[in-house]
Amino acid sequence: MTTSVPSINAADRERLRVAYPEVFHRSFLQRYGLLIGSGTVFLYLAICFFAFNVGPAFMQGQWDRASIYIQDWYSWRAQPRLRYEDDGSVRVQWSNRGQYAEGADIFWLQPTQNRGYKVTYGSDANRLDVTPTQVDVYVNGTAYPVTITEDAATAPAGAPSAIVQDGNKVIVHYGFAGQAEIRTSQVYVQRRFLGWANFLFDTRSEFWGKGWGELISLATVGDRLDPARANISHMWGDFLENTVWQHADIFSKLAQTLVMAFVGTLFGTLLAFPFAFIAARNITPNRAANWLMKRSFDFLRSIDMLIWALFFTRSFGPGPIPGIAAIFFTDTGALGKVYAEALENVDDKQREGVKSVGANPVIVNRFGVVPQVLPVFISQSLYFWESNTRSATVIGAVGAGGIGLKLLEAMGTNADWDKVAYMVLLILMVVFLFDAMSNAIRSRLIGGPSH
């Protein structure tokens, strides 16, 4: 089949052109509208690109740090310092994060016969043999002796690219497994493992270092470690009191955030409900009252949630109360507006029906209006509840407390990204759970998925 247009003879072409000029001479806007529109948007984005210094910011970004931070989300680092002692031995010094108990047997960090230490990165082919005068660096099975003097640690000539001389120290990279900095007084080791270290129990707990099978048997049939209480409650207590992961504190902060959203939305709903009847023109036939109510809603709504949050944090101190108050104030306005609009769209026939049996105005609204709007009201409030669960996190970070502030603190240290990941996971789970719950309630109320 040809791809040509059905052919038309020359005379007909002229005739058609003359007969339907508007088809062939489209207006400037019709021809170039799309082009100009998208051009404007691109121009705007380009201006913003330069105004916000996007290019330089990305160039100067600390991308090496980025990869470490991201790896911290799903893995952990043990960071011992192997210090050279004057007596020719090597001493291990741990950072305060303390992933290992005192005197624990660590498979990748073993003392050697000559009072040094052997650090393995995955296998014996990649390891460091540390002594105060010399560190033997093994990369893929080959040994490269790094000599250490008072002034400098020096890598041998012909070392592979994994071994880098950086001033008077030598840095060895083993990829994901970690790295080591060989300095004049110590070797700073970073050893990375998948997963979250000591997530269940910290090293002070009697359950620390036990495998899943052992834990389960202890929890169910094992002898009591502490005669005063059952193993399972002992475990739960140790889990919550985990000093590194602070489970109890995180749960409590998450609960604060959820309470903010729940109570704030609920109070907003309760207040907006009666006021919306005053704001609706068809329910309250008083123009002044309608106007006043609607403007109040607009005012509450238009003052940003941030402003309310900071204002109440200033007066009540950090915690869930300012969060509740901020959500309550904005949502009274927003819900009031939505409710009033729903009320103004009700079907008048039902009201007339109730009125016709001789009911008083309150009863007319109760039976002629509320049944119509209640599903819409509840469904709207549920939407707001969902969205406020997310907002409460951010509001918290500003100062109202809750999980938001906790997140901000964890991020501020730049060392607790695993904890950040944990909290994010908790938040995602809660948000999805609430989504599902409110969807279920909504579809029961309205019948079938709404929207």
């Binding site: 089949m1 247009v5 059905p6 052919s7 799309l34």
Partner: protein, 284 residues
Amino acid sequence: MTFELRNITRRFGDRVAVNSVNVEIPQGQMVGVIGRSGAGKSTLLRMINRLQEPSSGSMHFGDIEVSSLKGASLRNWQRDCAMIFQQFNLVPRLDVLTNVMLGRLNHRSTVLSLLNIFSDDERLAAIAALERLGIEQTALQRAGTLSGGQQQRVAIARALMQAPKMLLADEPIASLDPLNAKIVMDALRDINEREGITVVTNLHTLDTARSYCERIIGMAHGNVVFDGTPAELTAAAVQEIYGSDRDGAGIDETMTSTSINIPAAQVAAGTQSGGISTLASASA
């Protein structure tokens, strides 16, 4: 080139919608497919265009096995075998001219199409097609604002733009009033006679089939129960296609009729169809 259906069957779960149909249609025929609703007429047509896949059997157009085409060659077949629908299936928010030019989609570069850039030649062809169907004055209106009859003619114009070898019409006049029905059927006959394009149309009215089609295929419960000329369609054959009502009496042909007996309407229709023949200028 001959179009051929060999043992085409379509099942929906347990139900057999089309049961082992064997039909051969030579190029240039005007075929009417009749039967009660649910007899499998629509499914048959949709399978020919490959909007629905046959459960078994094969379709052939000349040397091409249509039923096994995939990807670009399938879309080429769909271009060669234009289809119009009972509900017109236009894009209501686009103007009529663009709707007609959408018939060219398979002929042209996707990038140009996506940017909505059409050439003057295509505009000329589109306006000529609209003119041929007598609705050129609506070219710049939104398709959704037109009446049913006008929309169906836009759909035919779009089909013409595809430069098809075959035109399928799935109940083209079921949603139209008698006058518009006549205009649409006349247009189909005109295309069939002038361009020699094969037309296969589903019809729910017997007299329309009799007066427009040179060949009638009757279907009942998914089976082809009649295949012949209108003259061969006897009362017995009609009874076999449509079954009989509870009293055992045969079906009254006038019950399915939409024929136009109003003199005024006939005059109007006459000028309209006259318009089609005199204004027709685009010839493939």
